[in-house]
């Protein structure tokens, strides 16, 4: 119990310090934009990403045969997380004509190739698994 109380007190102190840093080193116009970004991140996750994942899982549970579901779920997690982490390089929005050493890979083509490979791997795994489970019956 004492450990937890100390952790809560310490956590609250660090949060307060962070809030003070934010408020004291930025002006109100900047606070507003930070607030918008904080809120937008939560909405992007809680509404958009979560909504899409729920819809995909719902469709998957209706349309995807049982033997294919595990490979499809693994692919969704790995490929989906990789895609989200790669958004800044996939858009190449930070690329600059005067700096050829930045964002110097064919990111979008790579992403399409990876996506195609993921589809093939899921298809093969699903086919093998459904074949095996049928053979085991």
């Amino acid at each position: 119990m004492r450990t937890r109380a100390v952790l809560v007190a310490l956590g609250a102190a660090l949060m307060t310090y962070g809030a003070w840093l934010l408020l004291s080193r930025q002006d109100p116009g900047q606070w507003l934009e930070v607030g918008i970004w904080l809120g937008a991140g939560v909405v992007a996750h809680d509404a958009v990403i979560s909504g899409v994942v729920i819809a995909v899982c719902l469709l998957g549970s209706r349309l995807v045969p049982p033997a294919w579901r595990a490979p499809a779920a693994i692919a969704l997690v790995v490929w989906g997380a990789l895609t989200i982490a790669a958004i800044p390089v996939l858009t190449r929005a930070g690329a600059r004509a005067d700096n050829p050493t930045l964002l110097d890979r064919p990111y979008l083509a790579t992403w399409w190739a990876i996506s195609a490979i993921v589809v093939v791997v899921v298809a093969v795994a699903g086919f093998v698994r459904s074949h095996r489970s049928r053979a085991g019956e």
Partner: protein, 389 residues
Amino acid sequence: MVSRPAAPTPDSFTSRLRSPAVAARVGVWLGLSFGICFVTGLVSHYAQLPSHPIPFPTSPSSGYRLTQGLHVISGVAAIPLLLVKLWSVLPKLFEAVPLRDPRRLLLTVLERGSIALLVAASIFQLATGVLNAAQWYPWLTFSFRTTHYALAWVAIGALLVHIAVKLPITRDVLLADIDATTHDRASATAPGALSRRALVRTSFAAAGVAVLATAGSTVPWLRQVSLFATRTGEGPGGVPINKSARAAGVVESASAPDWRLEVVVGGVATSWSYDDLRAIPQHTVDLPIACVEGWSAQGTWSGVRVSDLLRAAGATAGADVDVTSLQQAGAFRRTVLPANFAGDDRTLLALDLAGEPLSLDHGFPCRLIAPNRPGVLQTKWVSRLEVSA
């Protein structure tokens, strides 16, 4: 999975994968990666301060390369972990608020408020971090560095509160079998596409894949693997460029034939031409450029020792040095080279990289290169060194 999408409650979510058993197992590693991010972030922030109450060490020369590489790598690893973690606890978002009992209401508001801050700050930190690494700044007003630093304290504080609140249940589910149902919601009984163990392993695999796909920016042997790295590592002299001479607005001033380096000690200036710098003893060092954005590359730099220039101008050792660039704007136009860095034999005003004169984009005519420093402080297009003693 959702029976009444119009008004979901926690009971609308029936998958047994959305469980404390999964959340705790993924959460431990997520918390660990946040801890690494926080500590390495503090190191980076401290390194960039203009003055250091406790001197920042000049050795090991690749120390900052390591800590900042770890910072970005652990941040990238946290993205898949955070996504799976939030997925596993999503039903909690729809829990009813106990409006009738004031004491429970207050506790609920405090707890869920701290969770809201934790989630918002976590997403903000990871999103702005990967955006900054790709030099994409879609925000209009706030400073990345100030905000990323301030919200790091908010995130880590909220994480400590969260750990404290969840400590008993976390301990219970981590000590029990992953498939134990003691702490499950009553509705969480539907088998998922995967077992719980497989989901946890998949989230670790996803973190590993995300790291492998990006870490080549700082880990040379991963360059061929990291197809989503922000840089291949190619560039003039084998070192990428963060800001070009054109972007810095120095093309004309840096290539002017009458360029001079001023070394000012106690108000007295000595002036050096490019040929003067070439005429004094040259030294060669192998040092990395390690950027706050998480990329780094080793270079072989040759030029004159900063300490030789200062001594020639009559400075005594032990003073901080103001370094000024030809750049007319930018937060790092003027930087402070602390005394311990200025006195280090490896700290050069480099004229050459990989045996060739510096390219304009690498800081021609001369740039600072010192061990164990963030790249933003390795000032390019240097025009003036000043000891204000």
